[in-house]
Amino acid sequence: MRLEYFQMLDEIVEAATADRRTLVARAFVPEHSPVFEGHFPGHPIMPGVLMLETMAQASGYLLLTLNGFSRMIFFASAKEANFRSFVLPGSTLEVKAEVIHEGSGYAVTQATLSQNGKRVADARLTMRSVPFTSPALQAHVLNEGRRLSLVTTEAR
């Protein structure tokens, strides 16, 4: 994880397929980050909003994989978001996102963060799917897809 750059996922454990609309990823929480200097002095923990962002990114890459990185996915809303345990610097998180419903221009996912098999956060997320409006954005997303080994070919 590079918290300051909102780069939350480090490696993919299981990529989604048309038959299995679930993504599992790992995220290594850094030992040191300016985020922990403010959150909180003397008690560094991962902010809940960044846990939510991590689940949203897993949902995003899940849906990007399913649409062949042809449309951008934006985080639209979170429902029933729960932060069940503190996440400390140096933790390894398993991030899972599953498609609950795929609609026209949006999808709903259920996402969880776990540590050592114990659920530390979960949420139901709504994600919008829209055409890429900027080649630079699409290039960035494709590069991130390559970093995560979700994209193995040239841009489609």
Partner: protein
């Protein structure tokens, strides 16, 4: 059994905090009820789930934006309910 209109009005009321009595078959979801795009996403999800369909909202918006259809054709409740009834699987009718 509740009519399509009653079910959809209940979903809109619950998703948008709009009193049920304000919602009529002639209400335009956006113009009259002032439902914003995020709330409409929630409403679409609930309709999709409730009726076992996928409202083709993107297709509708494209048709409206291209001048091929009028927004009222899809977003006035009476018309929205007709669209839903047309999309419902025979087993759920």
């Amino acid at each position: 059994m509740a009519s399509t209109f009653e079910t959809v009005a209940g979903i809109i009321s619950s998703a948008s905090d709009i009193p049920l009595e304000r919602i009529t078959p002639d209400s335009h979801v956006m113009k009259d009820l002032e439902v914003d795009s995020l709330s409409f996403l929630d409403i679409t999800f609930e309709i999709d789930q409730k009726f076992g369909i996928q409202l083709p909202v993107e297709e509708w918006l494209a048709a409206v934006n291209e001048g091929k259809a009028n927004g009222a054709d899809y977003f006035v409740l009476r018309n929205l309910c007709t669209q839903i009834d047309g999309l419902r699987a025979p087993a759920t009718v």
